[in-house]
Structures are given as structure tokens and as C-alpha cells.
């Protein structure tokens, strides 16, 4: 019955899947990224792939294009197992992948990029037929009704045009399956509309399209078939007619996590600590309003790329603020990280190893790093004093280290994170902004980190926590803001905090339901 449904589009007899993925599994050290994923891709069909952060979408695509090798499972073409062990083997099968980071060379021309790696040979041995290449590029662009100069260097094009060049690159070769990873992430609405037209053209030409999306509206506008991934498993594949936004959200959420969250929720929150109003910054975030009170852990949720880290950076003054205000205790904070720090804002960045700690220095040195001016007011560093400060913090935060002189690199991820927190405690920070505080730490350490956050707010500090892990947002936060497309999509009180509500806001399902009603 499903087959008939698609048959009328695919022109002709009963359509065979162009590509079948059977039981694909892939592990990395410590992560079981794909467990058992099966997928059928039909000609002339847009197959939407949905899933929250870490569901396994990107890994699946990398397996499909030969960049990763699956540990188990088969990929079948016309019923026969095929070789996807190398990029060129996959290419030869007519599978083209457009990743989020474009595979374009900035200082080569559009034509050179379209034919990268398969340049037509010129009459003189060893040379490239530049004229022929230009002509063929122009044809490929015209076939897509694109008005782009084949001689223009790619870096001079807009993001949307670059996206189109990527597609021309794919369609200029015998592409039967086109894989796109969030192609509209960087596009404006008009540019997206242009891309959708293009996708419909390709569909009509019988190309199968696998489309990874984070936007519910797209899923329903473009998708013929929708597959939801969660925890490296396929939850379900449904036809568009059978799906509702709510049902898809239900399927996306509910990751299994075995851990307890040590959190004591206070009865009534304290005074307003941080108030952000109308914040628009050079990094793309727009009109951010949010507020954190003393004694609160406030979540900042959203899918990867929704602008959460950018909000943290703008509050901290690490990126240029274009308009809007940041106030701490009612006082305006502006002028950059130095001022934010002295006002009492601590930013604990996501990449701990490159931005949070000095890996090759001692525990003691790291713990003192943010408060040198306070501890050593006369500008002279005294190791004995530093050691005392460090010992107090080590005891207070229960940092597992043989001595304050231990090199930080040799400690576990959880203990490194504690050192970052301790450093800011010593600097007398009042507002802690955590960007993915539990990334790369094991379950036991996660629990300890949350216990520490709980202590922080119990002592009257405020915490703004960015997390991609829905359970963390649900179980740890007093309230949460959810971001979508670089804006705050909504705010959830503790009583409303559940995975469905967060995901609905993050993916834009609520907006759509309102629109359709």
C-alpha cells in the first residue's frame, strides 16, 4: 500500500527502494552512536530524518557516504549488498552528500568547485580543459535555473548561493541519492524557499533525497516519508499523511538515562540576579529576554546550532552586543569579558580542555587563575598562599587529586570541571553560566557536578545552564528557556518542564499547530 502511494510519482512499475540500509551499527570509544538502523530510500521521494541532539543522524550520513565504516549491517542497492568502504566507491553508486560544513574551496571558482576531483582533461596532457569545464558548469547551473557566474570565486558568494553550488556539484554528476544535512540552517526564508523549489525539481527527476532537519515546518512541507532516530535506534518510519507534529515529538524524546539528579528545589527564589533584555549580538542571536534569580538553576535548551552558546558569549561580552542590555543586580554590564568577570559573571565554556583549564599547569595554579588580583593584591605571587587557597577549594569541592601540585591534565573530566567551578568560586562569581557542564564526563562525575550546582544555588548564587541533554534540563532546572533559530522560542516553568514541551519549542511544533488551528 505504501508502495502504491509512491508509485505514481516514480513513473512506472512498482518502485524498488534505491537504497536499503539494514541493521547499521557503529560505535566509537565510549559511545554507541548507531545501534540498529534500517532505512529504505525510494526514488523521487524526500525522506526526512528527525532526531534530537546525539540521536545518530550525522553518524548515519557519514556511514552512508563512506567517511565512516559501519561495524555491522549492510547497505543494499537494488537488493544487492554494495561496497561503501570508500568515498569514491559510494560516489560511483550515485550517492552525493551535502554536509553542513560545505565542501567548497573558498578561493577556487564555482566551476572549479563543481568539478573538483573530476576535472575534464585538456588537449595538452596534464592540463585541464578549463573552457569545457566552464561550459559544463554553466549547463549544470542552468539546469537548476541558477544565475551564478561559473567564474566567480566561491568565497564571494552568499551562503545560499554556496548551498546552490553544492547542489549543482551533486546534480552535475549522476546523482541518484542526495543526502542533505540541515541545508536551511544558514539560509534566510527566501533562500530556503528557493532551495525547496530546487528539491522539488530534483524529486520530479526521480532523485531520492535524504533530508536531515530540525524544523518541523520543513518536515511537513517537504517530507514524503519521515524517520525518527533516537539513541542510535530507528524509532519509526511513517508517511507524511500518517504523521502529526505531536506524534513525532513523542517519538523523539524519552532517551533512556540511568542516573539520579541530586537537586533540592527551593520554595521561593531570591532576588533577580541577571536580567537580559532585547539582547541582539554580532554572533546572530536576536532579541533575547531572560532572567535568572539568586538560588535558581535556569536551563537554556535547544537543538545544536539554535544559538545557546552565542547567548552565553554575548552575556559574558565575548561577542559584540549590537543592542539590548545585560544587568547584574540591576547594574549594567557592558564592555567585554573583563568587566563581566569583575561584575561577578563566570562563564564555564563547553570545551573545557581548550577554554576552561590550563591543562599543563597545576591544580593550584588553575584554581587561583581567575582571582590573582584579589588574592595577591600587591601583584606578587606567593606559592604558599596559593596552595592554601587551593587546599580549601579541594576540600570544599572534593576534588580528587593527590596534591595541589598535580598537573590538571592527569585528572578526570569530572575533576577538571570541578576545578573550573572552583576557580570561579574563588573569584567570587555570583552568576555561573555553564555551557554543557557534563560533556565528556562519566555518569558518576555528572551526578557530582549536579550536586555542586545544587550547592552553588543553595549558597545564593545563580546558574544559567546550557544543555543538550533533555533529562538534565528537566530534572535539574527550576525553569528553562528554549531556543530556536537564534531566538527564545519559549519559557517553561518547573510545572511545565517535560521533554515533549521542550522538544516542541525547540523544533517549532507548537508554532505550527497554532498556525494550522
Amino acid at each position: 500500500m505504501q508502495k502504491n502511494n509512491i508509485g505514481d510519482k516514480a513513473a512506472g512499475s512498482t518502485p524498488q527502494p534505491l537504497l536499503q540500509l539494514r541493521g547499521i551499527g557503529k560505535s566509537f570509544p565510549g559511545v554507541h552512536a548507531l545501534k540498529d538502523v534500517s532505512l529504505d530510500v525510494y526514488p523521487g521521494e524526500v525522506h526526512m530524518l528527525l532526531g534530537e541532539n546525539g540521536a545518530g543522524k550525522s553518524t548515519l550520513m557519514k556511514v552512508l557516504c563512506g567517511a565512516y565504516r559501519a561495524d555491522k549491517g549492510d547497505i543494499l542497492s537494488s537488493g544487492k549488498a554494495i561496497d561503501v568502504s570508500s568515498i569514491s566507491a559510494v560516489r560511483a553508486l550515485g550517492v552525493a552528500v551535502i554536509f553542513q560544513e560545505f565542501s567548497l574551496v573558498p578561493h577556487l571558482s564555482v566551476a572549479q568547485n563543481i568539478f573538483l576531483g573530476r576535472e575534464p582533461k585538456g588537449s595538452i596532457p596534464g592540463t585541464v580543459d578549463v573552457r569545457g569545464m566552464r561550459r559544463a558548469a554553466l549547463e549544470a547551473l542552468r539546469a537548476l535555473q541558477l544565475d551564478i557566474d561559473p567564474d566567480a570565486p566561491v568565497h564571494a558568494l552568499s551562503l545560499a548561493q554556496q548551498q546552490m553550488v553544492e547542489i549543482a556539484k551533486a546534480t552535475s554528476q549522476q546523482t541518484r541519492v542526495l543526502v542533505m544535512d540541515e541545508p536551511t540552517a544558514a539560509l534566510s526564508e527566501r533562500e530556503s524557499a528557493r532551495l525547496f523549489e530546487l528539491i522539488k525539481q530534483l524529486k520530479a527527476a526521480g532523485v531520492a533525497i535524504i533530508y536531515i532537519s530540525h524544523r518541523m515546518t520543513e518536515v511537513f512541507e517537504l517530507g514524503d516519508r519521515i524517520t525518527v532516530l533516537r539513541d542510535g535506534n530507528r524509532v519509526a518510519s511513517v508517511l507524511r499523511g500518517e504523521a502529526t507534529p505531536d506524534m513525532l515529538v513523542q517519538m523523539m524524546v524519552g532517551r533512556t538515562v540511568d542516573m539520579t539528579y541530586p537537586r533540592h528545589f527551593a520554595d521561593k527564589p531570591g532576588d533577580v540576579l541577571l536580567r537580559v533584555e532585547g539582547l541582539t549580538a554580532s554572533n546572530g542571536i536576536r532579541d533575547i529576554d531572560l532572567m535568572v534569580r539568586a538560588g535558581e538553576i535556569v536551563g537554556l535548551a535547544g537543538l545544536a546550532g539554535s544559538g545557546r552558546t552565542e547567548v552565553a558569549r554575548a552575556i559574558f561580552g565575548a561577542d559584540r552586543v549590537l543592542s539590548g542590555t545585560v544587568r547584574l543586580h540591576g547594574r549594567l554590564v557592558s564592555g567585554g569579558p573583563e568587566q563581566a568577570r569583575s561584575a561577578g559573571v563566570a562563564l564555564i565554556p563547553e570545551s573545557r580542555k581548550t577554554q576552561g583549564v590550563a591543562l599543563l599547569r597545576s591544580v593550584s595554579e588553575n584554581l587561583n587563575l581567575a582571582s590573582l588580583g584579589r588574592t595577591f593584591a600587591n601583584g606578587i605571587y606567593r606559592p604558599g598562599v596559593a596552595r592554601e587557597v587551593a587546599q580549601q577549594l579541594i576540600a570544599r569541592l572534593r576534588i580528587a587529586t593527590p596534591s595541589p601540585e598535580q598537573m590538571v591534565k592527569l585528572l578526570s573530566g569530572g575533576n577538571q570541571q570541578k576545578i573550573v567551578i572552583g576557580k570561579w568560586l574563588q573569584a567570587d562569581a555570583k552568576l555561573f553560566i555553564f555551557d554543557e557542564p557534563t560533556r565528556g564526563v562519566d555518569v558518576g562525575a555528572k551526578s557530582e557536578i549536579f550536586a555542586l550546582l545544587d550547592q552553588l544555588v543553595a549558597a545564593g548564587k545563580g546558574v544559567l545552564m546550557i544543555s543538550s541533554e533533555l533529562p538534565e534540563i528537566i530534572h535539574v532546572c527550576d525553569r528553562a528557556y528554549v531556543m530556536r533559530e537564534r531566538k527564545i522560542a519559549g519559557h517553561l516553568e518547573r510545572s511545565e518542564l517535560n521533554e515533549q514541551n521542550v522538544m516542541r519549542l525547540a523544533i517549532g511544533a507548537t508554532a505550527m499547530e497554532e498556525a494550522t488551528i
Binding site: 557516504c65 560545505f102 574551496v105 557566474d149
Partner: protein, 319 residues
């Protein structure tokens, strides 16, 4: 699509001229200064002199453009040039055959280039360290095989320097030929395209199924071989092979490339800019020579030329 129109208008054949690098303005300033301050600067003899002096630099700077486009660098060029020069002189003296001597010199350069390329591309070692090390190896070898002495070859190769054809000296012809070859390499062959891609987006090349190592090694090999070829001109001009004849030549080459608008980032390369950069460095050295400025100060002046050119580019907002 409004943006398309603006892109196409700027992207026509005169692109390299339209984006004249800051060094072009610096060159004009230098020419004006020396024309008024240095005696004999504007004579035909001196123009030929500048050309003769610049040919060797051009032969180093052109391949250096490609190397820098890959976000690499070749610090060994000067030392390899010196070594190739003494090898050339020794083979010439022993065999009397200029062709055999040239073959030996290019072979030496090629060997160093291949080794550099393999270490950088296959083992993933940092280009600066690799080529700094091979610079030491080449310089040491050059001193060892000559005992530190010059090897006199007499006037055997002087036709390359003094000879002329259709009113232009051989040096100028050689420079033009070299530039022509590199123009084709850069704009008509995969090697040139991929040099930009290795620096600009190696992942894209990998996904295009290209054997990146082959081209990466090829670019360093080209650099070494060019240094070997340049040894012919250098030795001819000096009538001798000297083990430290080209000491620090890589500095001039890298300076000429950078002021010409090639960037260490994103695979941006400007071959025409390199030509302008070479002429600017050549004019600067020549003019300072005429004004009896010591060669130590000349190096400082080239350093200043780099900074001034970059500042000019910065003002224009092209970097």
C-alpha cells in the same frame, strides 16, 4: 538574486589587476624614490641588472606561492639552492657537460622536495619544522662537500646571464618562461587547483576522492626542483658554486609571495602578485645597492616592505 550580478561584474579577466595588492603601490613609491635618489637607476643596464638578480628570486617565489597556498612553508629553499649550486659546479667541472650538471642540481632539489613533501603530507609533521630541519641538512652538506670553498666554473655558463635574444637578455626570457609555466600550472592543471584546496578545504578534496598526498608531495617536489633549476642561473651569474651563496634566499621568496597577496589561510594564492612582489624586492635591493646601503640593512628594508604592504592591504580591507 541580486548578489550574483555584483559578483560577476568583479570576476572578469582583469581580476588580478583589479585587486592590485598593496605592494604594487609600494613598488611605485620605490621606483619614484630610487629614480630621483639613486644615480644610474634608470639606465637600460641597470634594468637588465635588476632582471638578472630577480630571476633566481622569481624561481623560488613562484613555487613558494603554491606551498604557502597549502598553508605550508618551505624554509629549506635557500640552503637547497646553495647545495644544488655547488653540486652543479662540481659536476660541471668534472664532466664538462652543462646538461648533466643541471640534471644533478635539479635532482638534488627534487630529492629534498620529495623528502619535505613526504614528511609533511604522509607523516603530518609541521611544514615549518620539517623544512627548517632539511635546511640544516642541505646547508651542512653544501659545506661538507666543498670544505667551505667556492668551486670556480669560469665563464662556461655566462651566456645565460649576458646573452640576449631579440633585444631581451636571457635572464628576462628565462623569467618569462618560468612565469608562463607556473601560470599554466596554477590555472590550467589540477596541481594548482588542489594547492588552493589543500589550504582552503582539504576535507572537500578528500570527499572528491582525490589522492591528496600525491599532490601535496608534488607541490613540495616542485619547490625543490625549482630551487635546483635556479642553481643554474645563480651559479652562472657568480661564475662559481659557493656553499652559502643563497643564504637566506627563502626569506626574500616568502616576503615576495606574502606582499603579493597570497595568504597563509584559506588557500588564497596570487601568482601575478608574486611577480609584482619579486620585482619590488629586486628593485629595493638594487636601489639600495646603488645607494651603497649594506646588505644587512637591505634585509631590514625588505622586512619593512612586508609590513608596509600588509598595512596597505589592511587599509583597503582586502585581507
Amino acid at each position: 538574486m541580486n548578489a550574483t550580478a555584483s559578483v560577476s561584474s568583479g570576476a572578469r579577466p582583469l581580476r588580478s589587476v583589479a585587486s592590485l595588492p598593496g605592494v604594487a603601490w609600494a613598488l611605485i613609491a620605490l621606483l619614484l624614490t630610487f629614480a630621483t635618489a639613486a644615480p644610474n637607476f634608470l639606465t637600460m643596464g641597470n634594468v637588465n641588472n635588476i632582471a638578472a638578480q630577480s630571476v633566481v628570486l622569481l624561481m623560488l617565489a613562484l613555487p613558494t606561492t603554491l606551498v604557502i597556498m597549502t598553508e605550508g612553508i618551505d624554509m629549506s629553499l635557500g640552503a637547497v639552492l646553495s647545495l644544488a649550486g655547488v653540486v652543479l659546479a662540481m659536476v660541471l667541472v668534472a664532466s664538462g657537460s652543462p646538461l648533466l650538471a643541471l640534471g644533478a642540481a635539479v635532482g638534488v632539489g627534487l630529492a629534498f622536495g620529495l623528502a619535505n613533501g613526504a614528511l609533511v603530507s604522509v607523516l603530518g609533521l609541521p611544514p615549518f619544522i620539517v623544512t627548517l630541519a632539511s635546511m640544516g641538512v642541505a646547508q651542512g652538506l653544501a659545506l661538507v662537500i666543498t670544505d667551505g670553498d667556492s668551486i670556480i666554473i669560469g665563464e662556461q655558463l655566462s651566456v645565460l646571464v649576458n646573452g640576449s635574444l631579440a633585444g631581451l637578455t636571457m635572464s628576462i626570457w628565462l623569467a618569462l618562461a618560468f612565469y608562463g609555466i607556473f601560470h599554466v600550472l596554477m590555472h590550467r592543471t589540477r596541481l594548482g587547483f588542489y594547492a588552493s584546496a589543500i589550504g582552503g578545504n582539504p576535507e572537500a578534496l578528500r570527499f572528491a576522492g582525490v589522492n591528496i598526498r600525491l599532490y601535496h608531495i608534488g607541490i613540495y617536489a616542485l619547490s625543490g626542483a625549482s630551487a635546483g633549476f635556479a642553481a643554474l642561473i645563480l651559479t652562472a651569474r657568480m661564475s662559481a658554486g659557493h656553499p652559502s651563496a643563497a643564504l637566506g634566499a627563502e626569506f626574500d621568496a616568502i616576503a615576495a609571495v606574502i606582499v603579493g597577496g597570497t595568504s597563509f589561510e584559506h588557500g588564497k594564492g596570487r601568482l601575478f602578485g608574486t611577480l609584482v612582489g619579486v620585482v619590488a624586492v629586486g628593485v629595493l635591493r638594487n636601489g639600495l645597492n646603488l645607494m651603497n646601503v649594506s646588505s644587512a640593512i637591505q634585509v631590514s628594508c625588505i622586512g619593512l616592505l612586508v609590513i608596509v604592504s600588509l598595512l596597505l592591504d589592511n587599509l583597503k580591507g582586502t585581507r
